[in-house]
Assembly symmetry: C2
Homo-oligomer: 459 residues x 2
């Protein structure tokens, strides 16, 4: 939208609630030009009540690190940034909970927990800018889901403001609480389309006292899934990472002249970064080595490198995390999907066959295998041969054929809206839309995300 | 209701769908006289469509083992029993999932998983009669929540039939799947008031390969919570039970002449049954002993008995599970509530003080402390002095004062309907009722459960 010179009546009302510093107006191509910056839940309530009355649509803004474009403007929306509601209100050591405002940055919260020798187990690349509100709204996943679950499993309670300004305070701290419908579940993962999350209670865990990490080479997909089951059964409850890199990933990132020396030689079918978080440094290291040795004897692992220091551990994770490197190859698209393990090998084979038709194809596969979550990077080293639509179609048609999920951890936003019907039935979509209409009858909360406004009207 | 001699038109229509064996009509004081017994999801859909058209209310029936009376008739309801939909449709070893129909008994499913060396981690006393549909509808908890979570965490996907007969098939098998709203969460724990769950996908885990159990004596509440934190940090990911018995519980169940010999002498402030489920029998047993030894040195534990055989482990669990013994004391009420750990000691003190006013009081406290879940048994050894209302009021007023939950794991049903407002705000209740009205506008699904019909109409 273009901001008109004079304030509209609504802007004047909002300014009266938020004060001068509470309203930022500057032209922007991505996020809305007008951004409301409340400092309290009461202000969030007041401004949503005003926007609701005026029929003014709103985009809630967190760290803007999601890959589904849930934060962009689609028309005349105002932004609602929680950046000034970023306090850690409490770390409750006896109940092992943390109470935060939604604008709090993940890394800040993680470090504050660590000071109390407690673990906030959410972790992913955007930790330095993603906010906890955005994490809740997208049900973010990340690196340790296999052990601690997604954001949904970490959130014990929350406060949310509905489209009409109603404040729902549901700041539960208890692990068991079956008193009527579990309202918080409706808003986690709803991408800001049902309400604006303002505060949260998070579950903290004991800080791990040992960390063991290895890079393994594996010869076949059957061995890979066998290894996952083997490790899960023999590292009871401590397996926290099972990150698989297909060879194209590993070999490019550790190629000659790259930043990373290959800890294992090239030429294997799969490379797996395995991590356990335990409680007794010496005994855990010994057991980790024994279990991996047994896995080698069983033929599940063909080669292995164990780490013996934090810097060695970091070096392995840096290989896994060096995803930006692939942008050097040419125009590419990063995808985030889920496929069940029994389908995964066939799924990747089908994508590879499909990519044969592309000139100088880029086809990189990696992912959190323990969570059924694959990331794929598809593109072409020849910019002229890059066809966004064709690559998307190949990817999502193959996901659909293998009954996978078009979004594992980044949500739908705008980017995947047209793909949603590949993973969800029309009955499911109708039901979701009924919920949206109940909670946001005027469609002012993050309109056009998940559902296009016209589909919602027609649905 | 009384069943009239001739079939109504609706009964004839239902009989046409279900066949003779699909309709059971017999007078009953608790569950409805008319019970529909479908064999397929299509039949569930057809009969709900018919009931919806006729405005005929329905009570979904599982194993009828819940303690909140979610299964009883409140007026002219028909029952909808899933007892003939009890198949285990699939155990998918490669994806470690199990697909079941809702009428499947928990224990049957657990044993089927075990045959594949997999664990279905739900476990509680009613395992032999509770159905998985009922478990999903009440978000059941039980003995191993501290390690594996409630039913909600075990259910990956489900199929549900809405009030109007619409079938929502959402049989997800993937651990990460952020495609729009997570519909299954709406129905888990909704006590059959939003839809009838017909099928489910459950997450299976590796079967534990070691089990260590001990009974500990603890001198103070501070030591008790310290011990929980101590063990959780030092038995990384394997702590599966932390069951606390207040002395009145332990001393009565192991009194002279009872079935149980006391493994530890009477006279301690608390008794804790601790369990870990691990992966290496010898090493885990050694570590368990070491960690408990250290806890004694730290002053967290004053006495301990470790078990060395399955029969010794069983003997400890039998003490913890012998709740029926307390019915010998006189008229009693069992309660199921949650209170945060920092409030728990004061909560129990307040209940005890309150019970001083009762003649020959019975006041027994125990619970899944790691989950903030307490069970209390209140009553009087003098039947004449037993006052149901007064005891309930004492209990629930104290829960409310300590910001606890009036239902930890059994739900609201009818029994706790009047207490719901002690744990949930009016804004929360309004929002729940809006959801109920959206999904079941005629209020035919388990009416009068969670909300009284007239409250729903007025709300």
């Amino acid at each position: 939208m273009t901001v008109s010179e004079g304030d509209s009546e609504l802007l004047q009302q909002l300014r009266a609630v938020l004060g001068e510093a509470g309203l930022r107006i500057q032209p922007d191509d991505v996020i809305p030009d007008v951004v409301m910056r409340p400092q309290t839940t009461e202000q969030v309530s007041a401004i949503l009540r005003l926007c609701s009355s005026a029929g003014q649509p709103v985009v809630p803004l967190g760290g803007k690190t999601g890959l589904a474009n849930g934060h962009i403007q689609t028309g005349g929306e105002f932004g609602l940034s929680l950046e000034r509601m970023n306090a850690i209100e409490e770390i409750d050591v006896s109940n092992r909970t943390m109470t935060v405002q939604a604008g709090c940055i993940l890394q800040v919260a993680v470090e504050a927990a660590e000071e109390q020798e407690l673990l906030l187990p959410l972790d992913f690349g955007a930790r330095g800018s993603a906010t906890l509100g955005g994490i809740a709204a997208t049900n973010a996943g990340g690196n340790r889901v296999i052990r601690y679950g997604m954001a949904r499993e970490v959130i014990l309670g929350l406060e949310v403001v509905l489209a009409d300004g109603t404040v729902i305070t549901s700041m539960n701290k208890m692990l068991k609480n079956n008193t009527g419908y579990d309202i918080k579940q409706w808003f986690i993962g709803a991408e800001g389309t049902l309400g604006v999350i303002t505060r949260m209670v998070l579950r903290l865990r004991p800080n791990p006292r040992s960390e063991n990490t290895a890079l393994l080479a594996v010869d076949s997909f059957a061995a890979l899934t066998g290894l996952l089951r083997w490790l899960d059964a023999r590292t009871a409850g401590t397996l926290s990472g099972f990150e698989v890199m297909w060879p194209e990933f590993y070999e490019y990132v550790t190629r000659e002249g790259s930043l990373h020396k290959p800890p294992l030689p090239h030429g294997s079918a799969y490379y797996v970064l395995v991590e356990t978080l335990g409680s007794e440094p010496e005994a855990d290291a010994e057991r980790f080595e024994t279990v991996l040795g047994q896995a080698m004897e069983e033929g599940l692992v063909s080669d292995a490198v164990l780490t013996h220091s934090q810097s060695e551990r970091n070096a392995l994770w840096e290989i896994r995390d060096d995803v930006l490197e692939f942008f050097k190859l040419g125009p590419i698209i990063p995808f985030d999907v889920s496929v069940t393990l029994d389908r995964m090998e066939g799924f990747v084979d089908d994508i590879r066959s499909g990519m044969d038709a592309v000139k100088d194809p880029v086809c990189i596969v990696f992912g959190h295998l323990g969570d059924t979550n694959l990331h794929l990077i598809l593109g072409s080293e020849d910019a002229g041969a890059f066809d966004y639509e064709a690559l998307s179609t190949l990817l999502y048609e193959t996901v659909q054929r293998h009954q996978g999920s078009v979004s594992a951890e980044h949500g739908i936003g705008i980017s995947k809206r047209e793909q949603l019907c590949r993973s969800r039935s029309s009955a499911e979509l109708q039901l979701m839309m009924a919920m949206k209409k109940t909670l946001d009858p005027k469609n002012i909360l993050n309109p056009n995300k998940i559902f296009a406004a016209d589909a919602l009207e027609a649905g």
